[in-house]
């Protein structure tokens, strides 16, 4: 506290005194406080870049990536990661992964061009997605990318492209299967159990117009069971072995997709995510163990491709926000209104995000609701959370927001905030400017008859 500065105002409160022994409800929660991120004070960040503000930690991203690579590479001789663009395709983020050696996994022409723009070699782009456009396929074939075929119509379209260009693209198919986790994601790719996948593989090899190099599956998202991966891996190995034996076509890689959970807590989960989700080592153990135990010879072992997204970045992202108002609800419960809504924090629909105050406080912890600034009833950040009582202007930090928010956020009612990346030595890099009115209106075209007359 600087000399001459006034003491902070703390609003008065009443609290029931609990005397006697501790009961089964435990002690009243002591709130964790997050005053700084990677050594940079939250208050400084907000002062400089505005509120709300997304903050990413480069160090944490690299740490996550390296530990994932370590988990797989110390268990399997040939592993390749491909950064799932949709999780966070901020160019700065993508390039951190590419610097670390990751390929790119894209699901649209837009993402494909983004990856090319980031300098990824065409041969290192995996092109997924259920609705690839012809012009995108052409581009990908020209760039020798890996095409993961999702449906028969796409296969026919690709055959046309092959005939038109005379090229033999490298392809894989997406396979869906029953892994014991329901509902089965059978809307993507070809089914394993009903032999759709096998018949398509046969079609591809017999066509002679493309090179079948891989098999791809992505069995779900936020998977909480490693067992599902054991089943998936084993079914993929079976397909790969059959391709080798029956079609005389060696499968060069098996792509197990992603779907590993971060340590966020899903809505409705009984226990917090940190205590329940399997670690990446658990998944790696099961996946690599299944392939190594399947019976391939060392020379035949396919490369293992992983398209992890969420698990590599979720805990490297933070959202900083400011309390706009306090409000007591009709039932007497307290609530606070913050300056970011579900338009900015999209994942608030899925997770009970951990939210911590960014300044010291002696205020008692109360159960409250957190609402966003939108005048929409759905704009709820947390329905029920224990936090110390705060006053307008106070800052909060939302944790583990690195995945999907910076791609699924909506420009709705408010503009989207800036994003900063904290690099080495606490250096803060602004990696995306806060949106402005001009930016948003730039693509708009006003028909001349609708222009309002200037009044002098």
């Amino acid at each position: 506290m600087k000399p001459g500065e006034k003491l902070r105002y703390e609003r008065p409160y009443l609290k029931k005194l609990n005397a006697g022994m501790m009961n089964k409800s435990g002690t009243p929660g002591v709130a964790k406080i997050t005053k700084e991120i990677e050594g940079v004070p939250v208050r400084d960040l907000v002062e400089q870049y505005g509120s709300p503000l997304f903050v990413l930690s480069e160090k944490q991203i690299r740490r996550n990536y390296q530990s994932a690579v370590r988990a797989f590479q110390t268990r399997y001789p040939s592993v390749q990661f491909a950064w799932s663009y949709k999780t966070n395709y901020l160019n700065a983020v993508c390039n951190i992964f590419h610097q670390e050696g990751s390929w790119a996994e894209v699901v649209s022409g837009f993402e494909y061009r983004k990856a090319l723009g980031n300098g990824v070699s065409g041969a290192h782009i995996l092109f997924n997605g259920p609705a690839k456009q012809k012009k995108d396929l052409l581009l990908a074939v020209e760039n020798n990318s890996l095409l993961h075929i999702d449906n028969l119509d796409e296969l026919y379209l690709l055959l046309e492209v092959c005939e038109a260009t005379g090229k033999k693209p490298r392809v894989a198919i997406r396979v869906n299967m029953d892994t014991g986790v329901y509902p089965v994601w059978d809307r993507f790719g070809f089914n394993y159990e009903n032999n759709d996948a096998w018949s398509v593989l046969t079609k591809i090899v017999r066509s002679g117009k493309m090179q079948l190099v891989g098999l791809h599956c992505h069995i779900g998202t936020f998977m909480l069971s490693v067992e599902a991966y054991r089943i998936a891996t084993s079914k993929m190995c079976d397909l790969a072995a059959r391709c080798g034996k029956l079609l005389n076509n060696t499968i060069q890689y098996i792509d197990l997709g992603g779907g590993f959970p971060s340590t966020n807590t899903l809505k409705g989960a009984y226990l917090p995510g940190v205590d329940t989700v399997p670690t990446i080592d658990d998944f790696a153990e099961v996946i690599t163990g299944t392939i190594l135990g399947y019976g391939f010879s060392q020379e035949e072992l396919p490369m293992l491709v992983m398209e992890c997204g969420r698990v590599l970045i979720d805990d490297a992202g933070y959202l900083l926000g400011t309390i706009a108002a306090n409000k007591r609800l009709s039932d007497g419960r307290p609530s606070i209104i913050v300056d970011f809504g579900v338009n900015t924090l999209f994942t608030a629909f899925w997770y009970d995000h951990l939210i911590t105050p960014a300044q010291e406080t002696n205020a008692p912890v109360e159960n409250m609701a957190i609402y966003g600034p939108l005048c929409m009833n759905i704009d709820v950040i947390r329905e029920s959370v224990n936090l110390p009582v705060m006053t307008p202007g106070d800052k909060v930090v939302v944790h583990k927001v690195g995945a999907y928010n910076m791609t699924q956020w909506m420009q709705f009612i408010t503009t989207r905030p800036a994003i900063v990346l904290i690099g080495d030595n606490r250096q803060v890099h602004l990696v995306r400017l806060a949106e402005t009115l001009e930016y948003l209106e730039m693509p708009e075209i006003m028909p001349s008859h609708l222009k309002l007359k200037q009044t002098d």
Binding site: R63, Q66, R70, T74, R75, P77, R170, E299
Partner: protein, 723 residues
């Protein structure tokens, strides 16, 4: 037909050149030419060579030996000797043919006998044959041979007399200084002449063949004259014959031919001079009684004596015998210098890292924690993250450690010799000193070579005693049993099959070591403490492209070149080589599963195979773009002859030139390009002498472009072998 003519021409020229330990055709031709300065001797020498070749070829003797002139140089000496000392008459022709036949038979038979003990044939057959002839001619039997001039023979009988005799045909109009003339005449003595002109031509030939041998001849000549001048052993000067045929030949043989030339061999080639005197004098006395000149017997005996003597030393001496004879002292030297670091594949069994991914050496050889005394040559491995930690928080349980429960691999093929699997993993910070080694597996790779991994996880062993494992098979999991306060993998090589045997120092065949964030390739090296190691990730397309088995054939097409047919063969010593059937050039290579490299090249340098030899000098089957492969060529691959010839003269003492190879691999899915450069470094001045690119598409080489000597050659590589 063309091949036969080539064989005959080569054999004839080699028979002459090999008199001076050379296979240089130009030198051979020069010698052939100067023998005809004495026409009868020249003709009888050539007849003897042709006869001996006809015999050895018709009777199917070892063809390569015949081609190298090994069977015919002794008959050549016999023919030259006969022609020099006897008059041409009917008997002369008869005895020339009979004698040549005898010397050829002795050469083949004695050669095989000597070969068994790995000794050279030298001029023993000639000495035996010529002695028999002389004894017969001087005997009571009627041989019909008439001596030309007894003075020539007198010369041979008297080591201490320089008669200054000149073959009458040659009159030298120049007056040379005495010692210069003596030097040249001494050289001419080897072909039984006494002519400065012959000697001069031979000297030029020796210089073309080898600068090192030339320098040694000058050195030994000067030293011999000096020693005689000081001691006065031969008051009338040393005989030019013994100077040439014995003193200078012994020096050449010991100084640069049978030994790798170095300061030490130069010293020995001087030390051997008084020994040669002793042999010449002593033996002359002995054989005087039989009326026999000792010819070049002292040279032959001393050479065998020294080779045998130096072979008896413990290995690792600085004076090195020539193991692989290239018939060129320069080549022997340069090949030896480069190969001393390159041929570890032939010396060691290939030991790979016993794990997958990146691990760090936490305790190296002779580490100060537990790798002590006889157990010092061991390595401990852990996995370390970017922050230098070996565990994730809280680090209180073995499971928190990155290396715990990670697969441990067999480092090479072998049979499981010992397994222990029942010892509990320790809690963190506790050590089990009773069962010091913890759970361990010992694999027998070869007689006297075992590997041991220790501190494995309880019940993690996947193998049992007697199982055969292949390199890379998972044999267990890393744990924390035995004397292990935190999970780590202990690895050692040993000569005996027990858990806890004493260790031996043995290198890993190859690994990537990370230093300052950049990967570097190590080959046959022992990692130091703190190094981050990872296995090489093999690019299968690249590996396939260089998978040349015997029987592999390819055609090389280039503008302004004949189409060259290549085929891969294997020689009787189990070495693989690519033969250009068109040019006869051969390039020996080793493919050890993770790299392909050439070991030597023989033959015409205009062959397209030579371009391939230079551009694919070392290929490592990995497509890591950060990795630069470096290697050193033997200097004879240099095209800068004037500088190289100057360098040859000092090469035995100091290397001022270096010819280096740098290779980089750029992989783009099915298309791989290898960019190679050659740089010549002369005393720190670096110039690029070659730039090449090898294109690999769909797992096969299909194009090489090489810029050499400022000339760009585009080579299309068409492989016919499909497998």
């Amino acid at each position: 037909m063309k091949a036969k003519a080539k064989f005959v021409a080569e054999s004839i020229l080699h028979s002459y050149a090999i008199l001076f330990f050379s296979q240089h055709s130009v030198f051979g031709a020069l010698l052939l030419l100067v023998t005809f300065l004495s026409p009868i001797a020249g003709a009888s020498g050539l007849i003897a060579v042709l006869l001996s070749m006809a015999i050895s070829v018709l009777l199917n003797c070892h063809r390569e030996s015949a081609r190298m002139g090994i069977y015919s140089f002794n008959p050549l000496l016999f023919g030259l000797g006969l022609g020099a000392f006897y008059q041409l008459n009917a008997a002369f022709i008869v005895w020339l043919l009979v004698g040549s036949l005898l010397v050829t038979i002795i050469s083949v038979a004695l050669g095989a006998f000597f070969c068994r003990y790995n000794f050279p044939l030298l001029s023993f057959p000639f000495v035996i044959g010529f002695w028999l002839l002389l004894l017969s001619a001087n005997s009571i039997y009627h041989m019909g041979l008439k001596q030309v001039n007894s003075a020539v023979l007198n010369e041979l009988f008297a080591p201490g007399k320089d008669s200054g005799f000149n073959v009458p045909l040659l009159c030298c109009r120049f007056t040379l200084p005495h010692y210069t003339s003596l030097f040249f005449r001494a050289l001419s003595a080897v072909i039984f002449q006494n002519s400065a002109i012959t000697g001069f031509v031979i000297a030029a030939g020796v210089f073309i063949h080898s600068r090192i041998q030339f320098s040694l001849m000058v050195l030994s000549f000067s030293a011999a004259c000096l020693i005689n001048g000081v001691t006065g052993i031969y008051p009338e000067g040393i005989s030019y014959y013994h100077l040439g045929a014995n003193v200078m030949m012994v020096s050449g043989a010991l100084g640069c031919f049978f030994f790798i030339p170095s300061g030490r061999t130069y010293l020995w080639s001087v030390i051997v001079i008084p020994l040669t005197f002793l042999l010449i004098n002593g033996m002359t006395k002995v054989f005087w009684g039989f009326d026999l000149p000792i010819l070049s017997l002292p040279f032959s005996l001393l050479t065998i004596l020294f080779i045998s003597f130096f072979r008896q030393r413990a290995p690792g001496g600085k004076l090195q015998l020539t193991l692989l004879q290239h018939y060129s002292p320069e080549r022997n030297l340069y090949q030896q210098l480069t190969n001393s670091n390159r041929l570890s594949d032939l010396e060691f069994l290939k030991i790979s890292l016993p794990f997958m991914g990146s691990w760090t050496v936490s305790q190296g050889y002779d580490g100060d924690i537990t790798h002590r005394s006889a157990w010092g040559k061991a390595l401990d491995f852990v996995i370390v993250d970017d922050d230098g930690k070996t565990y994730q928080l809280p680090g209180a349980e073995p499971q928190d450690f990155y290396c715990y429960n990670k697969p441990v691999l067999a480092c090479a093929d072998g049979t499981i010799a010992e397994v222990s699997d029942h010892i509990d993993d320790n809690p963190i910070g506790v050590i089990n000193e009773v069962e010091n080694w913890g759970n361990s597996i010992v694999i027998k790779h070869a007689e006297g070579l075992y590997s041991q991994v220790s501190h494995l996880k309880k019940n993690s062993a996947k193998v049992k005693r007697g199982d055969f494992v292949r390199q890379g098979d998972i044999i267990g999991h890393c744990g924390n049993s035995g004397r292990s306060p935190e999970p780590h993998l202990h690895f050692q090589l040993q000569a005996t099959p027990y858990i806890g045997s004493t260790t031996i120092s043995y290198p890993f065949a190859w690994y990537l070591g990370k230093n300052h964030g950049k990967n570097k390739l190590f080959s046959f090296d022992i990692p130091e403490e703190g190094t981050v190691l990872s296995p090489i990730s093999i690019n299968r397309s690249l590996k396939h492209a260089f998978n040349f088995h015997p029987g592999y054939t390819a055609s090389l097409l280039a503008q302004n070149h004949n189409t060259e047919q290549l085929e891969v063969f294997i020689d009787p010593w189990n070495h693989t080589y690519i033969l250009s059937k068109t040019t006869g050039a051969a390039a020996y290579f080793i493919n050890n599963g993770s790299s392909f490299y050439f070991t030597s090249y023989y033959g015409n340098r205009n062959s397209l195979l030579f371009s391939f030899y230079l551009s694919a000098y070392r290929i490592v089957f990995t497509a890591d773009p950060d990795l630069t492969i470096t290697d050193t060529y033997p200097l004879q691959a240099s095209f800068n002859k004037p500088v190289l010839w100057l360098h040859d003269l000092i090469a035995p003492f100091k290397q001022l030139m270096k010819l280096t190879y740098q290779g980089k691999c750029i992989a783009n899915s099915e298309h791989i390009e290898i960019l190679a450069t050659q740089n010549l470094d002369v005393m720190g001045r670096n110039t690029q002498t070659m730039a090449a690119s090898i294109q690999i598409t769909n797992k096969v080489i299909n194009h090489i472009s090489i810029k050499l000597n400022g000339r760009l050659t585009e080579i299309k590589w068409a492989s016919e072998s499909a497998y």
